[in-house]
Symmetry: C2
Subunit: 378 residues, 2 copies
């Protein structure tokens, strides 16, 4: 394919793969898709390490970076701040709730976590502007072909740097009005992400949101996102007018993924109705697998979720401990295991390599085109 | 188009239009689509009148009938029962709640309604098996080309009568497991209706549900439903593997529709986020336009909704009174106005004739096919 979007990104098949895992990003790009590394949660030093690895393993194929710089964040730290400032704001009621919940499921809430502890007091605070600028310093030092922002209009500096680097800047939107604002702000690519998507999402479905966003997008290419796990769905979205697709959940069930074996087993077993849009993981509504964790935050004993980024500072270390315990074979811990995943989880039937997934997309996409051609002729 | 589904229904363009309005059904069929008359809420005598009218106005083009015979209904009447038996079960608390709500919005809760009063004690009770059998007696006396059931596996008698009449029996499903049961029961066409649809719906989006249902449908054709308002979306669904589409909301904004002018104005103004999945109208979760009515049932003063069919016996007469008052220009009454409509309402930009909508579908569908062909060649 040689569409405008393909030329913008330097690819021949507009299948974008969002992942927090460098292995997935490199493998998808090598296989002919376009990997997008989700940098949220990484420190600048860690990001440097990950992108270096991708540069060494992507065979020169293009890839991108996605930051998560929320436009609206009720809790902001001071300049040069660290996690310590945020951690001090977590009420003891919430710490106790999580401690009790973990203990009830046989998980030691004080288990040592080693490196990359999200609640390390010295770590740069997540989602903050200053951290984002430092992450951008790193990202733009690599041969990225796309920069994206996941929550709201990208900061002006992101768009300026993208322009200077000659690469497009993309933004995720969950409603028509968000798309309007993004177009006015001058983003180069819109990602219309429906409410069935994993992670942060709105309520409008992909089927409705994509045409709604297309009507206000003008000349800006629109990628469809939310629930897309197959090349037939990709063809369907492009028949609706999308320039390509942005996918996430499908890569969580690959051999390269960062997900735990227990979570991958849960994905294969799960149906599309087993996800829930909950604030229990980040503090903003995000779709994830329903588990004892999400149930507890919705339950009668819940102290209520905290605003972003505080909720993540208690949920991420807790879930890391849960995963370790579950990997050790603990059935009670397993009940808590969850991760961001969309309704498309119901279409996951097994774990495959990223290359196999990209090739299945290409095969299904071609089959869909053939069927449409037969319809046009018949 | 000459697909298997087209041959089953005797049409050339697999656009099915569900409507409670005979004018819409006849107009869509005349224009080259396939109208499906939603008979729920009608008495056998009324249905006879409506179908006679359709026979006289459809120019011999094929159409179908949809019944709503819930597989699970907690409240059943005795054989030969009337509404009276059901009406006696409505708690006075609920009557008072509705009376107060209407009065607060300037609507007289005792306003006379004339004919076709849903809460006429002598009327056959809605959704009951016996009423359904009588409705089928009527439907199969007309040259219908499809019979459909909207909530659960069709009663055996529906499938037997359909087989005897040589016409297909369709069933709506909102989840993969429902589809499995329907296939086992032997339905001829599955309608995979996503959670963005107007009326009774599940939670899985059309984008995910259609491929999920296709995987278990075997040889049974699958129609996509939920959020579909344009020919491009129709092409997208067929690229995913659907045999055609089942639409509803798009016909509510036509000149022929039974909807009130006030509701049509609200549709044009509404965004996709202005709908809500609520039990406030029928007692089962059904997507509808958010209004003071749906808000009241979710609010702190709400007595809680009643099970189907009781909730409809209080909501329908109330909404009929609301509509009369709103048509009279009452702004407070207008706030209550609502009707079943899907998220696709965000794509409604004006009121058109049914023929114009069918033609727009055909034009957009052809344009999407051309775009896909260009992709295949480029």
């Amino acid at each position: 394919m040689n569409t405008r979007l393909c030329r913008m990104l330097g690819i021949g098949f507009p299948l974008l793969a969002f992942s927090h895992c460098r292995d997935v990003v490199a493998a998808v790009s090598r296989a002919g898709g376009f990997g997008v590394f989700g940098a949220a949660g990484y420190t600048p030093e860690e990001l440097e390490q990950e992108l270096r690895w991708i540069d060494a393993h992507a065979d020169g194929r293009p890839y991108g970076v996605d930051l998560l710089v929320p436009e609206n964040l009720s809790i902001r730290t001071g300049s040069g701040a660290s996690n310590a400032e945020l951690l001090a704001q977590i009420p003891s009621r919430h710490r106790d709730f999580v401690g009790d919940l973990l203990r009830r499921h046989g998980v030691d809430p004080d288990r040592a976590l080693g490196e990359r502890r999200r609640d390390d007091p010295d770590r740069p605070p997540p989602y903050q502007r200053e951290t984002a600028e430092r992450l951008m310093d790193v990202a733009f030092g690599h041969p990225i072909r796309l920069i994206a922002n996941a929550l709201g209009v990208p900061p002006a500096s992101m768009m300026e740097r993208a322009r200077a680097a000659g690469i497009p800047c993309a933004a995720l939107v969950g409603a028509r009005d968000h798309a309007l604002r993004q177009v006015e702000a001058g983003v180069d690519i819109l990602v219309a992400q429906g409410g069935e998507a994993g992670g942060h999402c709105g309520e409008v479905s992909t089927m409705v949101l994509v045409p709604e966003v297309l009507r206000v997008a003008g000349n800006t290419p629109v990628l469809a996102a939310g629930g897309i796990m197959t090349g037939r769905q990709m063809a369907g979205c492009m028949a609706m007018g999308a320039a390509g697709v942005w996918t996430g959940s499908v890569w969580l069930a690959t051999t390269e993924a960062e997900t735990s074996p227990v979570f991958r087993e849960k994905m294969v077993a799960a149906r599309s109705r087993d996800t829930v849009r909950s604030r229990g993981r980040t503090g903003k509504p995000a779709r994830q697998l329903r588990s004892a964790w999400t149930e507890a935050w919705e339950g009668p004993e819940s102290p209520g979720t905290l605003p972003m980024p505080l909720q993540g500072l208690i949920s991420e270390p807790a879930m890391a401990r849960v995963n370790r315990a579950a990997e050790g074979g603990d059935a009670a811990a397993r009940e808590l295991v969850s991760y961001f995943v969309g309704q498309g989880v119901g279409l996951v039937e097994g774990v495959q390599s990223c290359r196999a997934v990209v090739e299945a997309f290409m095969g299904d996409f071609a089959a869909a085109l053939e069927d449409m051609q037969a319809l046009a002729e018949g």
